[in-house]
Symmetry: C2
């Protein structure tokens, strides 16, 4: 994966219609005609989005039949996930700190209750 | 998080220089001057990239001192991670299938070895 590939992938994902197309394809493969229906877009507009997604390694299209189904291609999103892995510790640390804080608050709350019962 | 926020985040990540800035900030917070050095870019060019990253919720900048350090802001990348979570099963399934295949190949290989020993 070159930096250009990853740039293409992020650029393709920066459009809400293209993300909506991916969300539809996550439910199963469909023809371009079926895919176009809910978007109220012209076929050339949808085809343009599909080309961007295909070039970015985010979808693949069947070549075997007249009906050329579109489907999710995991490679592109996997590349994004691999890139994200270098940064995951930043928000996981934040959540660890939140966890610590919540445990602390809960512990204080329990102590309060115990004291209350002793009275 | 609105679709626009996520679009801004993906759009900001579609540039290799901005990803390199994030990689540098993953090592610790630095001033804009220090940040600019390895990139051989003008300060206005770096400032423009930083503004894009800041608007996308990917970095934050200190306001307290003359030295305004830049640091990673986990929120933007966490949003990307949350979005990716809906798709993770696609490549995890692929790896499960690869695992199954490798186990199968290994099992066949072991059977072959055992047969070889019996001869």
């Amino acid at each position: 994966m070159t930096p250009d590939t990853l740039s293409n992938t992020f650029s393709a994902l920066a459009d809400p219609t293209r993300r909506a197309i991916l969300a539809r394809l996550a439910l199963g493969e469909v023809s371009v005609t079926e895919l176009a229906q809910p978007f109220e877009m012209s076929m050339p507009a949808i085809s343009k989005h599909l080309k961007v997604l295909e070039r970015a390694g985010l979808i693949a299209r069947g070549r075997e039949a007249q009906w050329r189904p579109c489907r999710i291609e995991p490679r592109g999103l996997k590349d994004v996930d691999d890139w994200l892995a270098h940064y995951r510790r930043f928000w996981e640390q934040s959540f660890d700190r939140l966890d610590d804080y919540l445990r602390e608050v809960q512990a204080k709350g329990n102590k309060g209750k115990k004291r209350g019962r002793k009275k």
